[in-house]
Symmetry: C2
Subunit: 268 residues, 2 copies
């Protein structure tokens, strides 16, 4: 993925935004990351619906789907890459109160470069950082992401692809940049995200598609013990779609069980 993205700010080609935008001052906004394949953003409608939902949760007026579509069309993207859609509460008077007449800022950025097109087996670690429990922000993909930044800074080993995060009560929540699924005794489970974590679109897609494919799925509390006891461990996000975990600390999972099939389900 190239280091030089194409960017639009409020629909105009621009690489800058107001230095006093509330997105910078307070992380007051939401975002989504999309996989683009040959110019086509995957799960576009669902991602826009999720962005809109998250914005409304913060009482931020989200531009219509047509406006986001028009922004994407303006980029004239024909190749594969990564698309990030960001919405902030824009500028306003100094201080925490919402601006009386908010003018949200939308940032659309595209990084060209193909994502993987096959199931990858990865090594992961357990992070030391514990996610704070905040039901008011749980599940929302907002711009307050310091926990993820600090958790990702815990390791430098190039062969470790992702870190697993627990919350303050030692419940397993997610990866740093992915959602988590475990396969155990014929049930596909993913953590409840009512206290922390981000409800990714790939997670929602896998829940729906796996169920349609006949798997028993469950959204529930998952402990560290459940993780090590699982017959298979998988991580989802909108870019990789699905990773299979081959190793977590000293625990190894040598052969795929259902991950190859689930990757196909997601990729379809």
């Amino acid at each position: 993925v190239s280091a030089v993205p194409l960017t639009l700010v409020n629909g105009q080609p621009a690489s800058q935004l107001a230095a006093l935008d509330r997105g910078v001052s307070y992380g007051d906004g939401v975002f989504r990351t999309l996989r683009v394949e040959a110019g086509v953003p995957r799960w576009w409608d669902a991602q826009i619906a999720r962005l809109t939902h998250d914005a409304q949760h913060l009482r931020l007026v989200c531009p219509s789907p047509e406006i986001w579509k028009s922004d994407f069309d303006t980029l004239q993207v024909a190749e594969s890459g990564v698309l990030r859609l960001t919405l902030t509460r824009g500028e306003g008077p100094r201080g925490y109160p919402f601006p009386a007449f908010p003018q949200p800022t939308r940032i659309v950025a595209f990084w060209p470069g193909a994502q993987t097109d096959s199931l990858q087996s990865i090594t992961v670690r357990l992070c030391d950082l514990r996610l704070a429990r905040q039901p008011v922000l749980a599940g929302i993909k907002h711009l307050n992401r310091l926990e993820n930044v600090l958790a990702r800074a815990e390791w430098h080993e190039a062969d470790i692809r992702e870190g697993i995060l627990c919350d303050a009560r030692e419940q397993v929540i997610s990866g740093v940049m992915s959602n988590l699924f475990i396969w155990h005794d014929g049930v596909l489970k993913t953590p409840l995200l009512d206290q922390c974590g981000v409800a990714g679109e790939a997670r929602a897609q896998l829940l729906e598609r796996a169920q349609r494919a006949g798997y028993e799925v469950r959204v529930c509390q998952i402990s560290l013990q459940d993780l090590f006891d699982a017959q298979e461990l998988m991580l989802t996000n909108s870019l990789a779609l699905l990773w299979r975990v081959a190793r977590l600390q000293t625990r190894e999972w040598l052969t795929p069980v259902i991950s190859a099939h689930l990757w196909e389900c997601l990729h379809a």
Copy 2:
């Protein structure tokens, strides 16, 4: 306070910064707000030390005090107003990992307009939002401020000046934009900030100055009951210095006890 601030980005007069700055993408940075009186920022050295401390806590390289001073001098401020110093981790490749060669962004903004120069008695409310407990970020004035934004959005009454925040265990932590002190049985108490909250410079100044003035001070857990039982309630921040709470819900505090003296201590 005027709506049109003077702004510098990395020392240059500018009102914009990179749309993909990590300050926007993740709230990856820290800030401080200073009271400026006739061109002189109050508690400058201590505020710069605190900004530097907080940056280091996020493993962000903070520019030297001389650079911040040079930025402020560039503004050529002779009047009173509000100064905000912001430092972000700057731009970098897409994703959570720290950039290999970080180039932090500093934003210096000044809003002209005098702050109050006397002790004010204010009405406050209890916020519904509960602060998440996150020891890794507790006390740090970072850019992940959605909790403050959402708490401030809970009320619209112009006569309510501030909201009181508790954490998820019902411990009293602070105001939305201020630190809290209570006076009870001859002891000045302020909440421990080891789980959440922001350690403001006015709080540190009051702790030090009150002790020097002979008051017994204590940093400890404070419950809601302690709040209502207190003989006096005060809030501090770098702009107002100190507010006296005259009313919280139905509880009223009719006459100042030590707040007028503490305001003088802080103002000195």
